[in-house]
């Protein structure tokens, strides 16, 4: 009977081999599919067990922390100060998912960053605590911007030109991030027609108005086709793309140079300049500034809007036949831009023509206090030559000294800037006032973009420039 016993053992070996095969199937080969299965709640439960790192402002003020919620889980708590920048922080919630820095820095905050760390953590028995994130945002500047907007819908973005660090990012209306985490207080925020959850600084596409003339001027000077002293006829109206275009108030300026044309924001001059440069050159310089693509901010992609010409909700290349290049050159046509993009325009001019990568994170620090990521400044690209930047700065200084932007002037400090007033509903006099600029113009420390949504009769010079002034004053103190 021994032979059948041996064969029986062979059968058992086969059966056990099948067990190993099926265990391998689930534990290894199909593991990823099982992890991604929506019925698998392990990932979400796991997140609750991690003590997420804190989020702090540039000065160290606590904005977000995790506190124990029983049974080895944690809950997110947002502080009073977090109300100053809810859109930047975002949220982290089992039901809602994540947004803002909570999302773009999730790997660090939840302690998933770094291969070596993972190994060590596995040995120690899993990750228990995430890294802390410090933002580059200055709460004083946030307060100044909020005070300046004073409840009006709009946005302010301030960037340090030499580093790309975002020092202020305000979007109004805001919200209390703690209220967002509670079901009962979340619903009204979701339904609010004023869209408080939208980060207007990065997600809202507004017509830029005359602030876009800075881009046109960059193309004009840097291409070598124009000088600040080049003379163009500024009479009104002028035929642009076969349709008459008028200056603000229908004023005719005669033959003027480009400096004067920028100072007085003469539409007909800049439209002619854009037409002469052509779509190719305009497109080139827009791309250099970052138009037509998502700004490389450390912020979730789906909360970022690419600035540019839009037709039926789709981004058009500036060389498209649907583009009226003359009107685009003065910030009209189908341009939709974000305050972040316009702040990047100001920052590039301020930084001698070099665009730095904008960042919201100042540093990432692990629970033991070691700096994991110092988020060093990164050059994005050179937009224009240093000489062009200097010429443009002088022209923009003139705007604030004696042109449309005098309200942004600071005591004892030279400010360079450009106003803009896009007409939203002409017959009701509803405008989108803008101001972009930087200071001190000799060695710029801060660049800003300010805009107000649907202002009744407001002008860039009177409504947006004073807010820019307050924010720059706060950041230059």
């Amino acid at each position: 009977m021994n032979a059948p016993i041996s064969r029986l053992f062979a059968v058992v070996l086969l059966l056990f081999a099948a067990l190993v095969a099926f265990t391998s199937r689930w534990a290894v080969f199909d593991a990823e599919a099982l992890r991604d299965n929506p019925k698998n709640r392990r990932g979400l439960i796991e997140e609750l067990r991690v003590k997420r790192g804190t989020i702090r402002a540039a000065d160290g003020t606590l904005l977000a922390r995790s506190e124990p919620a029983g049974a080895g889980t944690y809950r997110r708590v947002y502080t009073e100060a977090a109300k100053l920048l809810p859109h930047v922080i975002g949220f982290s919630d089992v039901d809602l998912g994540r947004a803002g820095i909570e999302r773009s820095r999730n790997d660090e905050l939840s302690g998933n960053a770094g291969e070596l760390d993972d190994l060590v953590d596995q040995f120690r028995g899993g990750t228990e605590r995430g890294d802390d994130v410090r933002l580059s945002i200055d709460l004083g500047a946030q307060r100044a911007a909020l005070a300046g907007l004073n409840g009006r819908k709009g946005s302010v973005v301030a960037i340090e030109p030499a580093t790309g660090r975002v020092r202020a990012m305000v979007s109004l209306p805001g919200y209390d991030p703690q209220a967002l985490l509670r079901r009962d207080t979340r619903a009204p925020l979701d339904r609010d027609p004023d869209a408080p959850l939208l980060n207007r600084a990065t997600q809202a596409g507004y017509p830029p108005g005359s602030t876009f003339k800075v881009v046109t001027a960059t193309a004009a000077l840097d291409s070598g086709r124009f000088q600040p002293s080049s003379v163009v006829n500024g009479d009104s109206p002028k035929e642009i793309s076969g349709v008459p275009l008028a200056n603000s108030g229908g004023k005719s300026f005669g033959d003027i140079d480009l400096t004067t044309a920028l100072t007085n924001s003469v539409n007909t001059v800049w439209a002619q300049v854009a037409e002469k440069l052509g779509k190719g050159t305009m497109s080139d310089y827009m791309r250099r500034y970052g138009f037509n693509s998502d700004p490389p901010l450390d912020y979730p992609r789906d909360q970022i809007f690419a600035s540019g010409e839009y037709r039926d909700g789709a981004l058009l290349p500036p060389t498209s036949r649907f583009v009226d290049v003359g009107r685009m050159g003065i910030g009209q046509d189908k341009l939709r831009v974000t305050p972040l993009q316009m702040a990047m325009v100001a920052a590039a001019v301020a930084n001698g023509g070099e665009l730095m990568r904008p960042t919201l994170t100042r540093s990432v620090v692990d629970p033991d206090g070691r700096v994991v990521d110092s988020v060093d400044p990164e050059r994005e690209r050179r937009v224009m030559s240093e000489a062009t930047a200097q010429n443009l700065t002088r022209m923009m200084e003139n705007v604030v000294r004696e042109g449309t932007g005098t309200a942004a002037a600071l005591q004892g400090i030279d400010v360079a800037g450009k106003t803009g007033t896009a007409e939203i509903v002409r017959d009701q006099d509803i405008n989108q006032p803008w101001f972009i600029g930087f200071a001190p113009s000799a060695s710029p420390k801060i660049a800003v973009a300010v805009t107000i949504e649907r202002s009744q009769g407001g002008q860039g010079g009177t409504e947006a420039a004073p807010i820019a002034k307050q924010v720059m004053e706060e950041l230059l103190r």
Binding site: M1, N2, A3, P4, I5, S6, L8, F9, V12, L13, L15, F16, A18, L19, V20, F22, T23, S24, R25, W26, A27, V28, D30, A31, E32, A33, L34, R35, N37, K39, N40, R41, R42, I45, E46, L48, R49, A69, A71, G72, T73, Q122, G125, G126
Partner: protein, 437 residues
């Protein structure tokens, strides 16, 4: 080196495992290594040592590897249970004491000759069948997941099928020793397949019928597969006729297919097995939730696992994520925490036990001992196959235990009896081989 010294040395890995295992659980919990916790391991190893002494005195020539392998599994199971729930581990440790007492009692009462069991084969068979039917007796029967496997008398819950499997193997071994000659004789061929005379197919058909009744009556596909599989293994070894096994298997498949498509409960289990990702089945009571959670737990484990104490068993708000983690799905917990590698290690230990069991059978000289060792080993191997196969969705999931690892008093006691019987057969066989009658 004598068998018993080898056995003693073999306990060292078990000792290391229990120490390392508890240490891992403590480190994970950031606990201090308290006196209480260390005494756990100490007492357990003491128990193993006592069992070793009993074997040393009563069965000096028995197989030296079986007991250390079992002790390794038991230690491992205890650590896993301790990690799931300290109270469960304490109860399991108490059951180990009971199991070892029964182990000692079995050895001492049968040490003269295990073949006395043959005299009581009909009593044992009746007892086995009655035990199988007990869970359907109103008042004490318990239904779990639609299957009738357990009985509850007061606070004690018991799975009589665990003991019944041994009783039935004893009966079959004894019955087949008598009839194997008859079964082999006078076979004729149909389509080239040698068939035994129809009248001798009778017992086969009776046992097949019993397995089918089991399937319908206690509604557990896994248990009936385990019983019927052990029977087929025995009849094959007894007759050396593959035709018996093939016919038996075909009959079983036919019967299972028939009942799976007609009996509601069996049908549900098969549906869950075939379509675990179906939304409706997932949400249904007794649906595929358990099956899917088992797969998710294994997927979470990967190659090397999450480490002792790292698997998610409970929901943060209270309640369980992985149902029956300490019994039916303990293998999923093992894959989750120790990965494919750890699970293969556990399977290897089972395979080694099976190998030793079959070796005991081949060494034995008399037919009853041979068949008894074969049957016990086969039913043990099939039990592992049925539960691990169920957890890994190789076959429909059923509620049998993973021997020596799962929580459960009846499982521990029954499997210690199984071990005692194997050691008894082994001692006699090895003594004969050595010429020490």
């Amino acid at each position: 080196m004598t068998e018993r010294n080898r056995e003693l040395l073999g306990l060292i890995p078990a000792a290391l495992l229990v120490t390392a295992g508890f240490a891992a659980v403590f480190v994970q919990r950031d606990d201090v290594l308290t006196d209480v916790s260390l005494t756990y391991g100490g007492i357990f190893l003491g128990l193993c040592f006592v069992a070793h002494l009993i074997v040393r005195v009563t069965l000096p020539h028995a197989d030296p590897y079986l007991f250390p392998l079992v002790a390794t599994l038991a230690c491992f199971g205890l650590v896993i249970l301790y990690r799931l729930d300290e109270d469960l581990a304490r109860e399991q440790a108490q059951w180990f004491v009971v199991g070892l007492l029964v182990f000692a009692a079995t050895i001492i009462s049968l040490r003269r000759d295990v073949r006395v069991l043959e005299r009581y084969r009909y009593v044992i068979a009746t007892a086995g069948i009655l035990m199988l039917l007990l869970p359907r007796v109103p008042g004490i029967g318990e239904q779990v997941n639609g299957a009738y496997l357990g009985i509850g008398i007061g606070p004690i819950s018991f799975q009589p099928a665990e003991l019944a499997k041994i009783a039935i193997v004893i009966f079959l071994a004894s019955y087949l020793r008598d009839t194997r000659q008859v079964l082999v004789q006078g076979s004729h061929r149909i389509l080239g397949v040698p068939l035994p005379p129809l009248k001798h197919l009778g017992p086969l058909l009776v046992v097949w019928g019993a397995a089918m009744v089991l399937l319908v009556f206690i509604r557990d596909l896994g248990s009936s597969l385990m019983f019927f599989g052990a029977f087929l293994a025995l009849i094959y070894v007894a007759t050396n006729r593959l035709s018996f096994a093939v016919i038996g298997l075909a009959l079983f498949a036919l019967g299972t297919w028939f009942f799976a498509s007609t009996v509601g409960h069996v049908q549900d289990r098969v549906d869950v097995w075939l379509h675990p990702f179906d939304d409706k089945l997932y949400d249904a009571p007794g649906g595929s939730y358990q099956m899917l959670q088992s797969l998710f737990a294994q997927g979470d484990g990967g190659l090397f696992g999450r480490g002792f104490g790292e698997a998610i068993i409970n929901l943060p708000g209270g309640g369980t994520l992985l149902p029956a983690a300490h019994t039916d799905l303990i293998y999923a917990v093992i894959v989750n925490e120790l990965g494919l590698v750890g699970a293969c290690g556990v399977l290897l230990v089972y395979l080694l036990i099976v190998e030793r069991g079959f070796r005991v059978a081949t060494l034995s000289s008399d037919s009853f001992s041979k068949l008894l060792a074969t049957g016990l080993t086969a039913v043990f191997a099939l039990q592992v196959f049925v539960i691990v196969g169920g957890v890994t969705k190789l076959i429909p999931l059923t509620g049998v235990t993973l021997p020596f690892v799962s929580y459960g008093g009846s499982s521990i006691v029954a499997n210690f009896v199984l071990l005692a019987l194997l050691l008894l057969v082994s001692d006699r066989a090895r003594r004969e081989v050595k010429g020490l009658r």
